[in-house]
């Protein structure tokens, strides 16, 4: 990847879209410290992240909802949730877990079951809830709608909009360009490892981006 320069301001929902192999996941991986950065810098709240271990970065206020959910199938739903709060030492963890289960009733229902038994959409909810358990100041989401049924995709994007209205700072990586462009404050378009375009939402913009960058003929909104 070359020449990536992007920023996310507090409270913003910023999108990062592009086709497969464009480097979206690599971008997130380098933010959380899993992929080393060859040159340049990544700063969070004024502090540089380079060279810090993933554990330290995550404990510093960033949470990741990874591609493919990556929940721990052999652990129970509740154990998965509580793992999200690994960095925290305060007593509110229990209360937050309860709140999560209220917000995502499906988690309450399966709280003592192995998380592997949940369906894709349910696991996605768990993955998001798990990330929120750390009370992050920056939420990174990697293709949360991937592989989900349309109904679940709606639910996920509704959730992302809810989080935005609650003031959560989010960097959303997605293949679903249309929904992302519509919902985000700003969206970057990535192709072949470089940044192509930055745009703010608006119907005209969405069609423009789709036509010029993805070759999609404009259709009525789905």
């Amino acid at each position: 990847m070359r020449g990536i320069s992007l920023h996310v301001d507090e409270g913003e929902l910023v999108g990062l879209i592009g086709p497969n192999g464009a480097g979206k996941t690599t971008t997130l991986s380098s933010i959380v410290g899993v992929v080393p950065v060859a040159s340049g810098s990544i700063t969070f709240e004024g502090r540089p992240l380079a060279g810090t271990s993933p554990e330290a970065i995550v404990r510093g206020g960033i949470a990741l909802v990874p591609e493919g959910r990556r929940i721990f199938g052999r652990l129970t739903v509740e154990e998965n949730l509580r793992l999200g709060a690994t960095g925290r030492s305060d007593a509110d963890v229990g209360r937050d877990a309860a709140e999560m289960m209220e917000r995502f009733p499906i988690l309450e229902r399966y709280r003592s079951s192995p998380a592997g038994k949940l369906s894709g959409g349910e696991q996605q909810q768990l993955a998001i809830a798990r990330a929120l358990m750390s009370r992050p100041r920056l939420l990174l989401m990697d293709e949360p709608s991937l592989g989900l049924a349309p109904l679940m995709v709606n639910r996920v994007f509704e959730l992302i909009a809810e989080l935005r209205s609650e003031g959560m700072t989010t960097l959303l990586v997605e293949q679903n360009a249309r929904r992302t462009l519509k919902g985000a404050d700003r969206t970057y378009v990535l192709q072949n490892g470089t940044l192509q375009f930055e745009t703010t939402a608006g119907q005209a913009d969405v069609e423009h981006v789709e036509q010029h960058y993805f070759g999609i003929e404009s259709r009525e909104a789905v």
Binding site: T25, S29, V34, P36
Partner: protein, 385 residues
């Protein structure tokens, strides 16, 4: 292409094997005119080359480092011993041998071939269940095989004399014999690794899933490789037995397992050159360590000698190689090709290609001397997200 190029091109193709044979020839020649101590050390080294090349033909080509390969050497050595010990002596040592074996007395070469065949058969049988297992389990499973063979040999006294030494093996392994064995092993393994089955197996080493998806039956290729490997190790075992004149089950157990693995790892697991350079380097290293074992003085400081230092030193070197240069001394490459054999219009040898353009998939598959391109010299870290 000029006439010279056309004639030299086939040489370029066999250069990896040729270069190694020439290298060994030089060393053998030098040893021939040296004292007995050096001669013996070089014979041992050449036998080690046979063993490590045999080990490489499975472990290096498939990427599965088995821990029990010496069981094949063991089987071969005992079969060879039984076939070559003079009949009269056999009657005394092993009175209950079946008459066919008891009455046979063969020369080195036929015995080695038969021993190799027996070992290969054993490999064929073992590999039927073994190759169905995941890689790690194959490595561990082979270790269990080693223990099984060791136990059988230690207890089957009527055939092997059990833990007692099996003596009276004629000592026919001369410098020339060992050299011939080493060159034959190199030629055989080179031919294998460049053949279709060999290339298929090497493809699976680098990406098992990709190879399977283009129709490579990884299990069967591994079975075949194990048989070739066992044949070489079995014959090598006979060479070894006829060098020592005496064998016990312990001759083919942990120590030699470690040394052969160390030799291949230090030399470089992924190339035939590694299987030859490894024994060369380790022989030199152990010679050095033996001097240290005897004790030496550096200026005012006298370091006392302790035996056992050799093995510790070798293990340390192996660990250092694994940490800092996991591809070994050769880095997975064959010996570099000399200028005269390089043709400007033929397939580019690896060095020139690397200098001129980034490696491409076409070049990598065509040129059998190129190890697949790697940016870093360490195994890829877990950077998957």
């Amino acid at each position: 292409m000029t006439t010279l190029d056309r004639r030299l091109a086939p040489l370029a193709r066999i250069w990896p094997a040729l270069s190694l044979a020439l290298l060994l020839a030089l060393i053998t020649l030098g040893a021939n005119f040296s004292g007995l101590a050096v001669k013996n050390r070089v014979i041992e080294m050449l036998i080690d080359v046979v063993l490590v090349v045999g080990f490489y033909s499975f472990a290096g080509t498939s990427g599965v480092l088995s821990f029990g390969h010496m069981s094949f050497m063991s089987i071969g050595a005992y079969v060879g011993a039984l076939l070559t010990i003079p009949v009269a002596l056999k009657a005394i040592l092993l009175p209950s041998l079946p008459s066919t074996v008891a009455g046979t007395e063969l020369a080195l070469v036929p015995a080695a071939l038969i021993a190799g065949a027996v070992a290969a058969t054993a490999a064929a049988v073992i590999s039927i269940p073994l190759m169905r297992l995941p890689n790690l389990a194959i490595s561990l499973g082979m270790f269990a095989v080693l223990v099984i063979v060791y136990q059988v040999e230690s207890n089957w006294s009527s055939v092997t004399r059990g833990r007692a030494a099996l003596v009276g093996i004629p000592t026919n392994t001369s410098l020339l014999t060992a050299f011939a064995g080493a060159v034959l092993a190199i030629v055989l393994v080179f031919a294998y690794q460049e053949s279709r089955p060999g290339l298929r197996l090497r493809a699976s080493r680098d990406d098992e899933l990709a190879a399977a998806s283009v129709g490579v039956n990884v299990e069967n290729e591994r079975r075949f490789a194990l048989m070739i490997s066992a044949f070489i190790l079995g014959s090598g075992g006979v060479l070894y037995a006829q060098y020592l004149g005496v064998i016990t089950p312990n001759s083919f157990y942990l120590d030699i397992t470690f040394i052969t693995i160390a030799m291949l790892v230090i030399g470089g697991t992924r190339s035939l050159a590694g299987a030859v350079i490894g024994p060369l380097f380790v022989t030199a290293l152990t010679y050095l360590l033996q001097q240290v074992e005897k004790g030496f003085s550096v200026g005012p400081l006298t370091v006392p000698g302790r035996s056992g230092l050799q093995q510790v030193g070798l293990a340390l070197v192996m660990l250092l190689v694994l940490i800092f240069r996991p591809r070994g001394l050769t880095g997975g490459r064959e010996l570099p090709i000399p200028w005269r054999l390089r043709s400007p219009s033929g397939p580019l040898p690896e060095r020139q290609a690397a200098l001129q353009s980034p490696p491409s998939i076409e070049k990598a598959s065509r040129s059998n001397m190129v190890a697949l391109p790697q940016a870093a010299s360490t195994d890829p870290k877990d950077s998957q997200l």
